[in-house]
Amino acid sequence: MLPEIISLAGIGFLASFGLGIAAKKLAVKEDPRLEKILDALPGANCGACGYAGCTAFARAVLEDKAPIEGCVAGGESTALKVAELLGRKVEKTERMVAFVACQGSRAYTRQRFIYQGINDCRAAVNVGGGSKACAFGCLGLGSCQKVCPFGAITIEDDLAKIDPEECVGCGLCVDECPRNIIHLVPVKSTVQVLCSSQNVGRTVKEFCDIGCIGCKRCERACPFNAITVVRNVAVINPQKCRRCGICIEVCPQNTIRSFLPTQKLAIIDAETCISCGRCEKVCLFEAITGEKGVPYTVNPEKCRGCGLCVEQCKVNAITMQEES
């Protein structure tokens, strides 16, 4: 009994001694910040940053090869956390989300033939160019859904829908879509043209009930010159758009939609207002009225929440509020 105990203890002692030396001598020096950065990253390993995964990205950030704000999935908050860890500053980035520029669901867009085959858009376009009549329409077989690592895409009625809350703007679906109708847009640009068809209006009407026919009514109506019709389809410049929604009203095809949760409304603080009248002059919708000496008031029926008056007010009396 005793020799066994001694020999086992001896082996244990020797092994631990060996391991102890090995741990000291062969230790891999890992930057302690790496772990912390990894904790700050979302850990989805989506690859949208261009690196093989979160660890590779974290290493690249430490070596100053990748930008701090490189993590698309984590967005601004992650960038701030990483910057804090490294004691650096980040430039503010605008959160982008993917957006499907098509609303041609089964009810609105015609099919050219009955497709039976692999349930995948990229495979379906090889068969006669896809069954949906419009060559710029969403096929709705879910190639984008499969590639999305965040589960942000759902398919309803042959149409891909992206949840802007879940979407992190990694752009994987943008590359995957064989019809090239998914774009990255700033999350704040809530007025969107839901069509990508470069066909002329007559052809669009043949295929679809709610496609952009390039009539340019929105282009003419937009008070901020934010809309241009390029290759038969309206394009909204998110930098210029103020989400007033006039284009939505003039569009004969209901192609332009607003995704604002609620309409915004300008509110003038009566105590701060100096009745200068600048806001009345700038308002394009005649929503602000008033007289000299009396605080100006906003007509909530007419205000479209464009915010032009806020910029004009010298005393910061106007605030934008969500309409209840």
Partner: protein
């Protein structure tokens, strides 16, 4: 002669009885034709006419852009009405030249060229290139390219392909029965160009009348051509399979060409077109095609002007007899489904097949049951079962390692699969993805 059968293959019902006995009919000249600029493999042709121009039949209206490209000629006399997007065989829009017919005069050939065989071989190739001839079996590869092998690849065997293994189609069969002398002369011209040691004319065993007639013609004319009856099996008429059967050599995998094994294969339709181009200076403006299937009122073999819309041909054949099921350009195995009757006949259209509704199966694919039947029928010796699974699970680099790109898309695996898996579509999809990835990597 000892044949070397290729591995695999299938035996679909050939259904050629519907049209095999019918004489080729001339079709009336269509009111307007739509000639796509891309009727061949390679760069699309460049239009050389403007809207409003008067063109005579046989005039060149679009010029080959580059070496691997082909000229396009007016197939009617008329006025160019438009040059713009028009539906093509692949279900997409592609640029095409529209000509409205003003005059139904037939093509007036040049004076017959008598001294063809005394001309140096290389001088014959420009005639073929000018005529815009492409492989008329369906692959539409420009013929002048095939006939200009590099000097380090001598051609020993010239194989004329009269196999026509696609079920239903009888266009090549009728051509051999009705123009044996012309085909023979075409073969002599090609032989003159290539200087091949052996010349074969391969005909599938299910066309005994054509084999007999060609043999008699060869004997009568005392030509050095071996007429070979090849066993009936699909895809016997595929280029690589035909080479294997006749000369027993395999075209190397991974982008090998027939010339690597010293062979050139030409379809009989192409041979006939070469004869017409060299002897009469006639460009490729019409072709023979089979309108067939149980869905069409009167099946026919027709000589059709290129660019004729399918609708015109359908009207000529009495239209649908039954409830429409599928309309396929080409044969049932490798043809392309159509859903637009404006689509024009092009250089590669060997047939129009109308299947009634009750002949069109609806399939609900299962998972692979590992029976391996696709492996036994694959004429390229690939593993379609694995390729399909790799494609399903987006493992494209694995698929590439399993020689995905060597698939000829003959459809034998899909035909035989008891689980009704769309294997060819899966493979085609994977091919697209592999090429897309390569392109992406090249751009980076």
């Amino acid at each position: 002669m000892i044949l070397h059968p290729f591995p695999g293959g299938i035996h679909p019902n050939d259904e050629k009885g519907l049209t095999a006995h019918l004489q080729v009919e001339d079709t009336p000249i269509p009111e307007r034709v739509f000639l796509p600029l891309s009727q061949h493999i390679g760069a699309p042709a460049q239009p050389v006419v403007k809207v409003g121009d008067q063109v005579r039949i046989g005039d060149k209206i679009a010029e080959a852009r580059g070496f691997v490209s082909a000229n396009i000629h007016a197939s009617v006399t008329g006025v160019v009405r438009s040059i713009g997007d028009y539906p093509n065989v692949f279900g997409r829009l592609s640029p095409a030249i529209e000509i409205e017919t003003t005059d139904d005069s037939p093509f007036q050939p040049d004076k017959k060229r008598e001294d063809v065989l005394s001309l140096p071989p290389q001088t014959l190739i420009p005639f073929i290139r000018e005529a815009g001839i492409v492989g008329m079996g369906g692959a539409t590869f420009p013929t002048h390219v095939k006939l200009s092998p590099p000097e380090d690849k001598p051609i020993q065997s010239l194989i004329i392909n009269g196999v026509e293994c696609e079920p239903y189609l009888t266009a090549d069969h009728r051509l051999m029965l009705e123009h044996p002398l012309e085909i023979l002369e075409g073969i002599v011209y090609i032989h003159h160009i290539l200087g091949a040691r052996f010349t074969y004319l391969a005909i599938e065993a299910n066309k005994p009348d054509a084999i007999q007639l060609m043999e008699e013609t060869v004997k009568k004319e005392d030509a050095k051509i071996n007429v070979i009856s090849v066993p009936k099996r699909y895809p016997q008429g595929a280029e690589k399979q035909l080479i294997k059967t006749i000369i027993g050599r395999e075209v190397p995998a991974g982008g090998g060409l027939p010339m690597d094994v010293g062979a050139v294969v030409q379809n009989v339709g192409t041979t006939f077109a070469i004869y017409e181009a060299i002897r009469w200076g006639k460009p490729l403006i019409e072709r023979i095609l089979t309108v067939t299937g149980r869905g069409v009122k009167s099946p026919k073999n027709l000589r059709v002007r290129l660019g004729t819309p399918v609708q015109d041909i359908l009207d000529l054949c009495g239209g649908w007899k039954t409830e429409p099921g599928k309309l396929i350009m080409g044969g049932p195995m490798m043809g392309i489904n159509q859903f637009d009757l404006r689509v024009p006949v092009t250089k590669g259209t060997s047939g129009i097949l109308l299947l009634p509704r009750d002949e069109v199966g609806e399939y609900h694919p299962h998972t692979c049951i590992r029976c391996g039947r696709c492996v036994t029928v694959c004429p390229m010796g690939l593993l379609p079962n694995f390729l399909g699974v790799f494609s399903e699970y987006a493992r494209f680099s694995d698929a590439e390692r399993y020689h995905l790109l060597d698939c000829i898309e003959c459809g034998s695996c899909t035909y035989i699969c008891p689980a009704k898996r769309p294997l060819v579509q899966m493979i085609r999809y994977a091919k697209g993805e592999v090429l897309r990835r390569r392109k992406k990597a090249a751009n980076k």
